[in-house]
């Protein structure tokens, strides 16, 4: 059997200042799934995400495609797990969009031709192929977000993880990103507290609350359970109905 894309067993983590952020997380994601990790602010979502590629290391076990996250495997893990962070500004640090997209592949020691091909393909995947030579700081927020996604796609990850992808996006940029993400044929984990957004991209939802998995199931069931959402300070926008909302 193919190993699970993500297999987390009893993961605990506290920040150095003593804040407990994860208190025994168990989570398994199969290859090909799209999973939304939802939860209120401070639930530990971003912390969990940083464990997926070994930036943070807690007690417990994290395996990615059957490979355990530990010192010797970080390079392999980071090649397979692409993380798009919430703030695109700190992910675009070189002087042109193409250079930023090429950064990951350059670190992977690919050939120059292969890098050029990937830069082209990744920018095309997010509809930004015309912007390769532009400076990222002149782009709109939505465009930066797409470029930040491309910087990760160029590494051809098997698992794509996004932290609050819809934050600060205007409606049009939001729709564009939904369309792009839905079209990507990789395993996806989307961390968000934007429930309609999660609903458009994912078929499964996991509620993280107080550093624990509080619920896990088909997204229709989770978002359809008003009481459950309520008890974790989650709320669907007024007028949003789960059944038939997916376009």
């Amino acid at each position: 059997m193919e190993p699970a894309a993500v297999d987390i067993v009893d993961l605990h983590f506290s920040y150095p200042d003593g804040t407990p952020a994860l208190c025994g997380v168990n989570l398994r994601v199969q290859a090909g799934e799209s999973v939304a990790v939802i939860g209120p602010n401070g639930a530990g979502k971003s912390t969990l995400l940083l464990h997926l590629n070994g930036i943070l290391r807690g007690q417990g076990q994290v395996c990615i495609f059957g490979v355990r996250v530990q010192d010797g495997t970080l390079r392999e893990i980071r090649r397979r797990v692409g993380v798009v962070f919430q703030d695109p500004d700190d992910q675009l640090f070189l002087t042109s969009v193409a250079q930023d997209v090429a950064f990951g592949p350059s670190n992977m020691r690919l050939s120059e031709e292969e890098i050029a091909r990937r830069v082209h393909e990744s920018l095309a995947a997010v509809d930004m192929q015309a912007f390769g030579d532009r400076a990222a700081h002149h782009l709109s927020f939505g465009q930066k977000k797409r470029v930040a996604t491309a910087t990760v796609l160029s590494m051809q990850p098997d698992l794509l993880v996004l932290d609050e992808p819809s934050a600060n996006l205007d409606p049009r940029a939001r729709r564009q990103l939904v369309r792009i993400l839905r079209g990507l044929p990789v395993t996806k984990i989307i961390v968000t507290h934007d429930l309609p957004y999660a609903y458009e991209i994912c078929e499964r939802a996991v509620i993280l609350s107080g550093g624990r998995v509080a619920a896990d199931g088909p997204i229709d069931d989770i978002l359809g359970d008003g009481e459950l959402l309520d008890s974790h300070d989650l709320e669907l926008p007024y007028g949003f109905a789960v059944a038939g909302a997916r376009s």
Partner: protein
């Protein structure tokens, strides 16, 4: 404020596709360097005129708008004017105009004009370089020149990366400083006071959060880089490795020839 600082920080790159734009940035950097040295070696007006003509040629060939001349000189206009005046007034010789104890001499005018013109050419040569070469290419070139040092342990790639990141974050930090300043003003902090103690009291609440913000950026940046498999400059592939073509070599040859001509011009025309 941030507007002018921004252009200063980011240079004034004018995207384009002219022959000057396309020349290998290493050659442009080397030529600019040689040009600057040449300016100080050149002995008299004939040589300096040749250097000016050469620069004007590049200006035109690079398709740069004429207003860039003014824009390039503006930051140091005061210095240029000052140099001229001091020279014009201080050199002994045949007085042309006398005002009180000061007299403008012919020699002073000549010498002042020469020094001023040289300074202006130096500034304008840097304008041509930064206006026709993107910051990326410039740092690439810089890295290339540092590369031999990598063998003796100098982290050439890291230095170039650091320069790039520093340039990249200047506008961000300026914007944040602006925001902070506004927030502090809204809370009644007055930065227009003369009393240095009060001023320091006003500035501290600005400096501390700015430091915190810088460290947060550095943190996030480090995480983003590590997530993309960054593990130092060793063993990276270079994307868009610089490659010199025949055109670059010819260009360099022409520039070198022109410089040589300017430097030896004094011999033929006399000083």
């Amino acid at each position: 404020m941030s507007g002018s600082l921004l252009t200063l920080a980011m240079g004034q790159y004018v995207p384009g596709d002219s022959a000057v734009h396309r020349v290998d940035p290493r050659f442009k950097l080397a030529t600019s360097f040689a040009y600057a040295i040449g300016l100080f070696l050149v002995g008299g007006w004939p040589g300096l005129s040749l250097m000016a003509i050469g620069l004007a040629g590049l200006f035109v060939a690079g398709g740069l708008p004429a207003r860039y001349v003014g824009r390039g000189l503006r930051p140091l206009l005061v210095l240029i004017a000052f140099t001229f005046l001091v020279q014009a007034l201080s050199l002994p010789g045949k007085a042309l105009v006398t005002v009180g104890p000061f007299s403008i001499t012919r020699e002073g005018l000549d010498q002042g004009g020469f020094l001023t013109f040289r300074l202006a050419l130096l500034l304008l040569s840097s304008v041509v370089l930064t206006a026709t070469t993107s910051p990326v290419s410039l740092t690439d070139a810089l890295e290339w020149f540092l590369r031999p040092l990598a063998r003796v342990g100098v982290p050439a790639y890291e230095i170039a990366l650091m320069v790039t990141i520093a340039l990249r974050y200047i506008p961000t930090l300026l914007r944040e400083a602006d925001d902070l300043l506004r927030a502090q003003r809204a809370r009644g902090v007055d930065l227009s006071v003369r009393n240095p103690w009060r001023l320091a009291q006003g500035v501290m609440p600005l400096v501390v959060p700015l430091f915190v913000l810088s460290f947060r950026h550095a943190d996030d940046l480090a995480v983003a880089m590590a997530s993309r498999c960054y593990h130092g400059g060793r063993g990276r592939t270079r994307y868009r490795e610089l490659r010199a073509g025949l055109r670059d070599v010819v260009g360099l040859g022409v520039a070198a020839g022109w410089l040589g001509l300017a430097l030896s011009a004094g011999r033929w025309w006399g000083p």
